[in-house]
Symmetry: C2
Subunit: 328 residues, 2 copies
Amino acid sequence: MVDVAREAGVALSTVSRVVNQDPTVGAEFARRVRAAIDTLGYRPDEQARQLRRGTSRTVGVAAREMSARNPVLAEFELGAHASGLVVFGASTADDVARERAVVLSMAHRGFDGVLMEPIGTDHSYLAPEIASGLAVVAVDRPVSGPPTDAVLSDNSEGVRLAYRQLAAHGHERIAYIGDHERIFTGAERAAAFRACATADGLPLDGLVHSGETEQARISAAVRAVLSAEVRATALVCGNVTTTLAVLAHLAAEVPREERPAMVGFDDFPLAGLLDPPLTVVAQHTSEMAQAALRLMTARLGEPERAVETVTVPVSLIARGSGERPPAR
Amino acid sequence: MVDVAREAGVALSTVSRVVNQDPTVGAEFARRVRAAIDTLGYRPDEQARQLRRGTSRTVGVAAREMSARNPVLAEFELGAHASGLVVFGASTADDVARERAVVLSMAHRGFDGVLMEPIGTDHSYLAPEIASGLAVVAVDRPVSGPPTDAVLSDNSEGVRLAYRQLAAHGHERIAYIGDHERIFTGAERAAAFRACATADGLPLDGLVHSGETEQARISAAVRAVLSAEVRATALVCGNVTTTLAVLAHLAAEVPREERPAMVGFDDFPLAGLLDPPLTVVAQHTSEMAQAALRLMTARLGEPERAVETVTVPVSLIARGSGERPPAR
């Protein structure tokens, strides 16, 4: 920066003000500084700048999978970028230890905030980071331990909508296949399903299949449901990974006329182009992203404000697969 | 760290060695230091550590869209993590200025390397960063300007495979809809298509539609192709976004019996569950990810090694949509 000041013929403090985008610098001085920066190939040292300024304007996103389609995180990133924040994402891979490593590495690198899809049931490791000023916003699932802002979907209402749609179309034995119940959304959705079935006076045995979202486990669950003595005629799928695995299994192994009616939790591109088009419970992803960005911005601006949880409604989109009568 | 040393009753240098995972520290000393760290809630300052050590073991991924499905980047991240690297991703949003901002912000934060899907035709801004030791690996598209390692797909061969499959099934008028030709892959694939059509003695006018991958533009292209005096009976789609937009348009507006035969560039989940199942040119994503990781690791270990480009083959997966005879 000393070299830049000499080349531009200005004071060192002027260079600093231009680099930090101080709008009070005169246009001619700013032009000379930028020309000198170009001539000398000066590279600002973000790390040193952060250490001096105490803020990095950087927010991390700790997602289940970074390179997976996630419209909430995509829109959050877009909005955060428009607000002048730099956003870096990393995958937690559904692993408790990896989440801790990812989030702590963001905190120790001086990130100002972290938007996270929390895993597991103990986030006490966040407490000292939050105490040191890290802004934490949870999305999809709450943090367990220190209170943080959170944006959640109305999971119970979503499962009720799915169940009632199938029941309204004549299904008397409806099964559920979904995520592992150590995942908060997996637990909420399975519990809501059990409540629906119990309210209808149905026995639960053999109807609720929660677990890992791997093809083999889900194929086994579909087989169990369809080969039971009293077979289910309809399925609620607890998340999009489960839905895709169920569809793959049905396409490969189950004759068309024996396939159950079906409602999936979460919408996705192509759901309407399947045969039959897939009825889904859709999360309001845009509303969730905007709420997450609002909470993050508010927390960064006012670290001491009261913690807030936003629960965003869901909607049923009837397309055909959930409106088929029982196969037999 | 001074407090930790006092609490543990060891020298400051011992604390430093434990924090930096020096294996030569005696077990009892290491235990005492870790206990003191827990007691005092000591948080290592990654920024200060990096400034001292000169390496961050951090690699950035500058992707077209961070929260979109990208099996190459997902597998790269997994492998990099297994190699002890921290990976942070950010979106370039197909914007030249944003790419520059994202990559420079990674470089100025002390990231050791960047895996990028380059946009645009001028990456001269990378030259000073590479000179300062930043490891850059390009994926999908090459960097324009400073020579860097790159992993590319065999785009031309992919388009040839698609074209020949359609021609072999009786199609004499085949159209192409794809990405904007300012994108390297868009340009390569459109050029390969033109070469195929020209070799067959076909006129090109009205058959090649490259541009933005927005629904409105792609719907207009499909309409133009299908309403031409001599209409095309088959389509090559230049990338997955185009394929999805074409499918959405056909489902909404074109009677089943008038839909063209079709081959898409890039495979995706559900492609085989569509009606008809979609024939695609599949990139070898796992091979691409492994090559990218190998090049990144090699460059980090040996900054002066010769620059390398790996071109990964592609395959045609025939599923039905590309094997239909001309509609009429």
